[in-house]
Symmetry: D2
Subunit: 429 residues, 4 copies
């Protein structure tokens, strides 16, 4: 489609209402999409990107609206191409159909990407679009186009696993402090402890975002499987000798780029890090997580029984002595929640879904594993060890997808069975 056709289409719209800067940007985008744009390339892309970055919030919304409305394929043209392919499914008809069904946005984004810094800007653009979709559902097509494009660009083949330690540049380390989403990092001293010789930290990077971690994971090398997270987070904890460790505890994993939501990096990261650690420490016998149960407390609200709920309603309920019976009841209910509470065929708990889907097995529940405010509020203080037995990951993963089987240690299964009556009582109430 020629540039003038775009202009016609665009200005057919109530164009007088559009801010001047938005108009300028739309016009630059049209030039960029023209044949001219393919050649002039960098300079034009740079100009368009710079213009986009000057937009205020209102203008940016206008721009997204224009993108969503005027750059979509023509329903008639695509309908005809589909008819032709239905009638005669030859290569030529398929190619024509695909071309007519694609919006012009992906090509626009690809050309914009010639400008330095554009990849980061497009990731940020998608973040804003995702944030705005609830109130601007028409932006879904933008999101869809960007997601496909970014999935292609952030293909795992293009990611580089890098170790993060005290030799890493401050510009990257500062971002870990800022992004860490599971157990907040309290400044540089905290970060430094997490990068000592008994810890490991790894991140994926993309060549276009050399100073932006995509996802990172924090690992503690321990003797025996950690049951409680507070000692791992303690700045003053003694630094252990890594050669004595037999476990690698994955205690935090954070996706850094909201604009890449929906593109999965976590399972790949865990597997590559496990391989990397196995190479460095051949004597490691266990790769396990120390994970929260973030949906447990909410689920308890419906399945916990009034007596129990009343008790744990007090924010300080765990600070004094907690009766054995309460501890037993909560632990059993947690086992039941993890093994039997479902969303469709899969576990209701998102962290369980992630690790079990990756092929880990549910190994152990840890009472008062995380006594932080957040740990109490979301997981009722419990934490879980998921274990990645390297030899069984593939099989577990397959069973999970074929039969929705959750692989758990016998002790956990027993806890879940014991919980049944209580849960029923809870329900009955």
């Amino acid at each position: 489609m020629s540039a003038s056709a775009f202009l016609r289409r665009l200005f057919g719209r109530a164009n007088g209402e559009i801010h001047q800067q938005t108009q300028r940007l739309v016009s630059l985008c049209e030039t960029l999409l023209s044949e001219h744009g393919e050649i002039t390339g960098v300079a034009l892309a740079r100009e368009a990107l710079a213009c986009y970055q000057t937009l205020g919030e209102r203008e940016r919304e206008e721009f997204f609206d224009v993108l969503a409305k005027t750059f979509s394929p023509s329903p008639d043209a695509v309908g005809q191409a589909a008819d032709a392919y239905r009638a005669d499914p030859i290569p030529e008809n398929l190619i024509r159909l695909q071309e007519s069904a694609e919006s012009l946005r992906p090509e626009l984004f690809r050309r914009l990407n010639a400008a330095p810094g554009a990849t980061a800007a497009l990731v940020e653009m998608r973040r804003l679009i995702l944030k705005g979709i609830p109130t601007h559902p028409q932006w879904k097509v933008l999101d869809n186009d960007l997601l496909k494009l970014l999935r292609s660009w952030f293909n795992r083949g293009f990611l580089r696993l890098e170790r993060i330690d005290w030799r890493t540049s401050a510009i990257v380390l500062e971002k870990l402090i800022q992004y860490e989403a599971v157990h907040a990092i309290q400044g540089w001293r905290d970060l430094r402890r997490r990068l000592e010789s008994d810890r490991r930290c790894f991140a994926f990077f993309h060549p276009q975002l050399p100073e932006e971690p995509i996802i990172f994971i924090e690992v503690a090398l321990t003797r025996g499987m950690s049951a409680h997270v507070q000692p791992l987070l303690d700045l003053k904890s003694p630094v252990a000798v890594p050669a004595n460790a037999d476990c690698a505890m994955f205690y935090s994993i954070t996706n850094c780029q909201e604009g890449l939501r929906g593109i999965s990096f976590g399972n790949l990261l865990i597997k590559q890090v496990a391989e990397e650690l196995k190479r460095e420490f051949p004597h490691l016998r266990r790769f396990a997580t120390l994970s929260p149960v973030p949906g447990f407390r909410r689920w308890l609200g419906e399945h916990g029984g009034p007596e129990l709920l009343k008790r744990i309603d007090d924010p300080a309920w765990h600070l004094g002595e907690v009766p054995e019976a309460v501890q037993a009841q909560l632990t059993r209910l947690c086992a039941r929640y993890l093994l039997h509470a479902k969303q469709g065929d899969e576990p209701l708990d998102p962290v369980a879904r992630f690790h079990l889907g990756n092929g880990a097995s549910l190994e152990r529940l840890n009472w008062m594993g995380d006594t932080s405010e957040q740990g109490m509020a979301r997981s009722a203080g419990l934490m879980v060890n998921y274990v990645y037995w390297l030899a069984e990951v593939e099989r577990n993963h397959e069973r999970y997808f074929r039969e929705h089987a959750v692989v758990a240690a016998p002790a956990v299964e027993k806890l879940a069975r014991e919980a049944a009556p209580a849960a029923e009582k809870g329900k009955a109430a």
Copy 2:
């Protein structure tokens, strides 16, 4: 679509005829496309790629056939989605339509790309497909899918301009020797001369192919615009002082990756190199090419007049003294060819099309500019200087695309006018 559906589809086909290794690869591809595949990732991709690389020619053809036939979208499903979008062009219907119109191949290639070396393998795969299309037209859909994917991955934003010199690794330098397509490099001594201090060589690289130039350009820094290429190629030519140069002569530009055909890198390279050179040598006044006229000799065959043709039919015609009149006649015809011989609205000569489309202007014709066998056979010995006037490139480029205007120096236009009668005579004959 589930893995089993693929299997059904595939084995509905006369599957008994397929070689065992092909079957194994197809099965691996299906697993890779399943949900399972998304997670297991690297190991599976590596296995599939390794399997692909063991295929013999016959098996590879089978594999391409299966890819082309069984992984295309269902005509009915895509037809229905198009109907829905035609009836109600809301975002949801557009997204559904786009999904149903996309074949499964791009996703398969994206997942394959998790394996080390896969990007290079996919570029090579497209090379083989392009080579085979004349006899296997059904592969066009494969080519189309791969082209779109590679265009996305080899986005100019991901390319790095690198200087090539005697500090470059032998593994890359060896490839220049192997790939150079315009003026063949006669071994390491020849290469070395082309990388001396009065020369510059630049290439684009992609992060996934760190030792594979995508495209490269050779530049000579000269006093005055070069008219003849043989002195530039002479191993024993004295090395000039670059500080004295006022011209940068682009005398060779080579696309290295046949598997990336259709993705344009040349104009971007020329512009970035011109900027780079301007930074290093602010006193350079002219950026010009010394280019062949590869379609001239063939065109002459139809427009050259019997007398002229007879004369230049002798391969040694240029070795003795060439009468002034013949020289004048050929030069004028060449000007006419470049300015008036068309393919559609654009110049018939592919090199002219490239440089004029980039915004260069046709500056000068050079008699006996290239007396090599190839230079005589294709360009009748003539060479052209196209000049990139940095201040005018944009405007020229725009005029070329808007009005199909060819910007040429007055002297060249005059030559073309003088040629007219001769050409007519030629035609008349």
Copy 3:
């Protein structure tokens, strides 16, 4: 000298008193010095270094004593060689004399240096020796040997100037915080402010100590010459646009390695940094320091006059309003101190000695330039701008060394003249 000779010499000494670990180390050193040692090299050096690093303080002192006593040249042998050279100064006699005059320690240190980390260990060893010399004057020969060796190894040709910024690794940045000696860095936020875009920081590194700055300098890019240091140190000061700056203010320079004391890096650093900045910001017009006057307050104690001294004895004297007359008096005395107080032929003030000796000129005195506790206690709150006029540095430097001339701005000279009577009065009191 053979290994056994060493052993004899060593054990002729009251060897029973020596700790076992010291004995082991001395024995390793002797092996290392033998012909055997030259060949076996790395393993032996590694062992000796590891042994040295296990020594307690007492053992280390013993080891230094042994080194100082037993590895020195024989007075008789060297005397004879000198006699021979005096009698017949031919090359052979000179070479023999030099060999006999050299102690075995330098060769020992050179061989030790084959072990990884040895260079850093030797720098640290010299630090300990320097610290111990006041109570162990016999170690002077060790210091002398190490100084000559380290001066050779830390030759300026081997140093690399590196920019320090937020992209630098945390391991290096942390050392800046730790080493900064002029204006202490208060943690990571303070450091970050000092590395913003309106600042520059450069350090010299040596290939053998890649994570250890040798010396570093902090620079602020300002409009106009800074008179006060507190705004530069203020974490919340707004970040200026470097393109608008016309001055580069060198406000802190720190030698990091006590073990390299006596090897001068500062003047080279200042000159290279000035060149580097001139390249990046060609519009900079002035390279100046904002420097303390660290000996001023002590000198005032003797030359200040009882009235003045009484007034400034109160640590809070500068907090309220300070009478014009006092301000004038102090400033004049400071000018006098800088221009006329001498140590031999050179200025008494060490900072003045350094910058004036480098060829800077004394440009301006700044009242209340540094109101920090240290600034008040040592410099009575005054700071000085020394200016490096690139075109005059050489000439100034030469005049400084030939005529002990101090180049100062007329205004500063005037102040010094005005101070004369006050100073005399001071002296009279």
Copy 4:
């Protein structure tokens, strides 16, 4: 000593005869040695170096003469300092003695080294001095000063072992071709074969000479110990699978820098390379050389017996069939030569001296191991395998130095015994 004193001394000499450019350089050197020079540093060093590099051969010789004569220590001053030390060997007297005994040259060279490229220039300067010593014995003191300085700078702790392969820059690879001293490299194709996957090449580099190998070694990974070098040098030899190799054959080792003669790198290189290979290929069982016997043919001339000598006098003697007896006789004589021909207490053969001194053992003699012209002329076609048994290297090395013991395989010792009568006969003749 002050600059003027130098001038006096210098011009006391018949200064009128000195070329102007030499005078200018000497004057620059004096300034560089003055206090002034210590500060101005880089610029002055650069100027002096540039001046040196313009000197013609005659002027350079003059400059060396001046350096040798006028910068040596004063015999009287050094004599007095030695007397003082002899009388009272306290630290101060030792330090004073050492200072007075040192010539000013080392300090001059150290200051020169501030100029970019100076280290390489000083290495080259020593090469020229070494070459000139036979006709200019007065330069020995220069050589001695430079040797000490370069030994300090090229300390093994500063050397980096780097693998050389086809990824190495052409600028370095070209130097291998140029420097290879044992088995000449016949251009790029030959080099490429020597860097294939069944070969390894390693070199030492110094941070100041990043593109200059100091020494390099070529290794072939083989099944069984190679007996003949021609197959290893054959461009068309098939590339073996390194995983199948059980031997690492060191078939060439070359010192690249004549100006570093007398500083030993070879034994360190061999040991580090053996460790490196052991890491990469843990299954390697043997590290052995395939070495020439360069002094054998000359020694034969005196000890070979007239009949034998007459036979091998014909350059083509080995081309036809060689009688068993001759082969046996030559092999035995070679064993005898290696085990019993001495220079002092050490083997007469320089290659034997090197490897046996490093702790290798003499494993095997190979008939017609090197049939090249040079191999025949120097080694009578024989080659030797020296084996580095990693567990025994230290012990062998020690025995070599303590008892001058040559460790050889029993078969070689037997050959040497059998040779005795023949050798005697040879002698008798």
